[in-house]
């Protein structure tokens, strides 16, 4: 059962934080300053940069164990300066299941500043004496572009002070900076810390090796996890694949498809 709560570098120990999409997982889960589809649910400010009606599905197979799989589906609906995002995730199996549904909104506040918030609803179901539990939390983020090729992201997950609760609920702060070094080459670094956990640093790159084909790599200090990923774009469809290592528990693979509808 312990393995259920073992992070695999995507959320620095906060098991309630949504895993990164395949594109971001391939670059060490560096996502707080990215503007991709899945990043928009890691930092809701990024929603503002998604101007297409789009939908996606993502599957993460942690340590190649089907019981530890996470299935995610999301949709982004643009609306002027703002975009709305909806997300659903499912983790676990018949003896333990954790589900999350979120509704987020990202707004472009000025040329170089965007902000976003999301409300999440969690359920955790376990048979027997443990019962079922629910919770509502919020998360919020900012994305700033001080220069055309530099982006800085800040995100806080569950900022409600724990004094207002009966028990501890993990909080996560993330901040990161990314730079477009050259045409097609993006590199980023991110720091993340969750309640009761160590500080984690992540770094990664995304490079368009040939037209429509991207390769990604990254490293995360938690569990010394290395990541590798591939991405391919076919007209309205993005296909991404990633692999993340764990010092002791093996490889976590992840695949996603994103459809740009309008």
């Amino acid at each position: 059962m312990i393995v259920l709560f073992l992070p695999v570098s995507v959320s620095a120990g906060n098991i309630y934080h949504l895993p990164a999409g395949a594109a971001e997982a391939g670059m060490g889960s560096v996502c707080v300053m990215q503007t991709g589809f899945w990043s928009s649910f890691q930092n809701q400010a990024s929603l503002a940069f998604n101007n297409y009606l789009s939908a996606g599905i993502n599957y993460e197979n942690r340590f190649s164990l089907k019981e530890l799989g996470t299935r995610i589906a999301g949709i982004i609906i643009p609306a002027g300066n703002a975009s709305l995002g909806m997300i659903y995730s499912h983790f676990g199996y018949s003896c333990y299941r954790r589900e999350m549904a979120g509704l987020g909104c990202g707004l472009l506040l000025s040329e170089n500043l965007a902000a976003g918030i999301q409300i999440d609803y969690f359920t955790e179901k376990t048979p027997g004496e443990y019962g079922n539990h629910q919770a509502v939390i919020c998360e919020a983020g900012l994305l700033v572009t001080p220069r055309e090729n530099i982006r800085i992201g800040v995100h806080i997950f569950n900022p409600v002070p724990n004094s207002l609760r009966k028990v501890f609920m993990p909080v996560t702060i993330r901040t990161g900076v990314g730079i477009e070094l050259d045409k097609g080459l993006f590199a980023g670094a991110e720091a993340e810390m969750s309640s009761g956990r160590r500080l984690v640093f992540k770094t990664g790159f995304d490079y368009e090796a040939v037209k429509n084909f991207r390769i990604r790599g990254g490293f995360c200090t938690e569990n010394n996890a290395f990541s590798f990923g591939l991405g391919y774009t076919v007209k309205f469809l993005n296909l991404d694949l990633s692999f993340t290592t764990h010092e002791k528990l093996g490889i976590t693979s992840c695949a996603s498809m994103i459809f740009k509808i309008l």
């Binding site: 300066n81 506040l109 443990y130 539990h133 409600v160 207002l164 609760r165 702060i173 009761g196």
Partner: protein, 670 residues
């Protein structure tokens, strides 16, 4: 399966509402904000200061002086030396350089022009920026004869704390009243610490009360103060009731500021002078005289040899909230007097200073332990000093030599050289003999006691590339005699390297690495204690960005490794400062997560707070620290600040401990 318990979470619609309001404000209102009172450099200095812990009062003094400046920024374009010298961290020559620059080239158009003035670099300019005012201030008007009053009241309470040993209420209350009328000014400061009685004694007064009347002239009589005052002369070895230099290893300079006596408005209950002070100037000659008699806190005792009443230690915290601590209040009558004469030769400014102090009852700090062998014992203490500052081309040299009762020596000698437009270096040597005693002195880099130390400090600041500044410093300290928990002569080292990248005026990255080596008794079970050395290493990174004038975002990461127990400490925080455009409200919000392995890896982080109050909590354990503060500017006549802060600590078995506090401040001007 305690993890399930985490779902016992309450829904918080108020927070959601807050975010929606915040976001809508951002959309509606374009950039507009100036309320960024402390620069990152100053914040770092304060955190270093708090971490050092050798001189806790200095943090309060430093922050108070900064608050005074941020409340009343210096009108730098006036070119008036007295006005510019309110920037207390500048030395005489820097003050003169700014004044000369404005007189010869005209008014500064931008604050950033300061970095181009001889004697300044970008780092010093950054330090000054929050405290100067450029616009519409070219003329310093004559002091207005209109009576102006300011009344400040702070009220601080920690709802969760309830110590039954306290004599009074757990609230901390501070009130300051000041007036100015033409050349005259005056003020009263009253404070009640946590747990002290509000009114006590005969007549019933707050635990600490101080006041002054001051006259500031422009000719022969430059200033006269009656009541409580502070003073600083030379490099501060002999007399310095303010802050000492040498706070940061990568500071742009270590020369002490100007000679001055100034009204005392702080709340340090023991380090001030009470009586009268006068400053006279006649052309290039300056004379200062002061006399003080005050009662200070101490631990009473009886001399074993004569059975006389004596004092065995000074009590400096100012807290009198239990019966035993109240017994230490006002035990000693200290009488101090002194005279300072200085002469300005142009390139050289030199001075001599004499001060004398006497105590009733006599003081005997020697407890019989070897480490106390050189501590003060007796009734009187005379100190004679000679000091100088000189500037020759791009080299600034300064120093002071002092003798205590013509026996024990204390000296400091420093050099600041700007070798090129991109490289500046500093050196400071100091030697404070084990038997040197000063009761109101704070020599450069000395901590709380200016004695038993021989040290060398050096640093450089280099503009390595466009927008990239690298500075590094090293300090080696030798302690010729024993110290607390150190049974042999010992030494300490400190190194620091700092990089600062400022790609644009609204974006700053700052990163530093500090290593400290210190020695302590090794606690051998048999025989004489040996010494063991430990190294602590601290890494800091911060980024600050201001997307618009009304919004400042900053993120910081601290990581510490302690050699004492090989534990790790880490901290990550996010700050937002936002000023609403249509309402006179400013918001400060912080969220900070920390996780430290032990008390040795505790991390200090500066918090924005009430004016004339400060908060640099030592974060230790596993938890979160967050606060929200709002300032409401009620026209020109009043400011109201309310701060709520909470620290949540997680203990074993998911037990939570919450410590919260409420701070309220009202400033009224009439």
């Amino acid at each position: 399966m305690t993890i399930f318990a985490t779902f016992a979470v309450k829904q918080k619609p108020i927070l959601i509402l807050f975010w929606l309001i915040f976001l809508s404000e951002l959309i509606i209102r374009p950039a507009y904000c100036q309320d960024e009172s402390l620069s990152q450099i100053i914040m770092t200095i304060i955190e270093e200061f708090a971490a050092d812990e050798s001189d806790p009062e200095a943090t309060a003094i430093f922050i108070e002086q900064l608050h005074e400046l941020s409340e009343n920024p210096v009108k730098i374009n006036s070119g008036d030396e007295d006005e510019i010298s309110r920037l207390f961290f500048l030395n005489d020559f820097q003050v003169k350089a700014i004044a000369d620059y404005i007189k010869t080239t005209g008014e500064l158009v931008s604050k950033y022009e300061i970095a181009n003035i001889p004697g300044f670099d970008r780092q010093t300019a950054e330090l000054i920026l929050p405290f100067v005012f450029i616009e519409d201030n070219s003329v310093i008007s004559l002091p207005s004869p209109v009576w102006r009053n300011t009344l400040l009241t702070n009220f601080i309470i920690r709802p969760g704390e309830n110590d039954t040993s306290y004599l009074g209420s757990p609230a901390k209350v501070l009130s300051k009243y000041r007036f100015t009328a033409g050349h005259f000014s005056g003020g009263i400061t009253a404070e009640k610490d946590q747990g002290e009685r509000l009114l006590d004694g005969k007549p019933p007064l707050t635990d600490f009360i101080s006041g002054y009347l001051s006259y500031t002239g422009s000719r022969f009589l430059k200033r006269i103060i009656l009541g409580d005052f502070g003073a600083c002369f030379g490099q501060g070895i002999n007399i310095n009731t303010g802050i000492h230099t040498g706070l940061s290893l990568t500071a742009p300079g270590y020369m002490q500021g100007r000679n001055e006596t100034k009204p005392y408005t702080s709340t340090d209950e023991n380090n001030y002078l009470r009586g009268g002070a006068a400053e006279f100037t006649f052309r290039d000659l300056g004379i200062s005289l002061f006399f003080s008699r005050s009662r200070i806190d101490a631990t009473p005792g009886i001399r074993e040899d004569t059975s006389d009443f004596t004092v065995t230690g000074f009590y400096k915290t100012g807290l009198h909230n239990t019966s035993s601590l109240l017994m230490k209040k006002d035990i000693v009558t200290e009488t101090s007097m002194g005279a300072n004469v200085t002469y300005d030769f142009g390139f050289l400014r030199a001075g001599v200073l004499w001060s004398a102090g006497s105590f009733v009852p006599p003081v005997s700090l020697q407890s019989g332990n070897p480490e106390d062998l050189f501590d003060f014992s007796g009734k009187t203490c005379n100190i004679y000093s000679f000091y100088y500052n000189s500037q020759f081309r791009k080299v600034l040299s300064y120093g002071e030599i002092s003798f205590n009762n013509l026996r024990n020596l204390a000296m400091a000698q420093g050099i600041t050289a700007k070798l090129s437009d991109r490289l500046a270096v500093n050196f400071l040597y100091r030697y404070y003999a084990p038997g040197f005693h000063t009761f109101h002195g704070r020599g450069p880099g000395s901590g709380s006691n200016t004695c038993n130390e021989k040290a060398m400090l050096g640093n450089f600041t280099f503009e390595a590339a466009k927008h990239l500044f690298v500075s590094a410093g090293a300090e080696i300290r030798n302690f010729p005699w024993l110290r607390y928990r150190i049974s042999c002569p010992s030494m300490a080292r400190k190194y620091e390297i700092r990089m600062k990248y400022i790609p644009s005026e609204n974006l700053t990255f700052d990163c530093s690495f500090t290593s400290r080596f210190s020695m302590l008794d090794s606690n051998e079970s048999q025989g004489i204690n040996g010494l063991s050395g430990t190294s602590d290493r601290l890494f800091r990174f911060s980024a600050k960005y201001s997307p618009g004038e009304n919004l400042v975002l900053s993120s910081a990461v601290n990581y510490m490794i302690s050699g004492h127990d090989d534990s790790r400490g880490m901290l990550m925080r996010q700050d937002i400062v936002y000023r609403l455009r249509q309402a006179p409200l400013t918001l400060w919000i912080r969220y900070c997560i920390f996780n430290t392995g032990s008390w040795y890896t505790r991390l200090y982080t500066y918090e924005n707070d009430l004016l004339y109050s400060y908060n640099v909590p030592a974060l230790s354990g596993d938890g979160c620290r967050s606060y929200a503060m709002v300032k409401w500017e009620i026209g020109d006549m009043a400011d109201l600040r309310v701060k709520y802060g909470i620290t949540t600590l997680a203990h074993e078995n998911d037990l939570m401990e919450n410590r919260d506090e409420i701070r309220v401040q009202l400033i009224v001007r009439f």
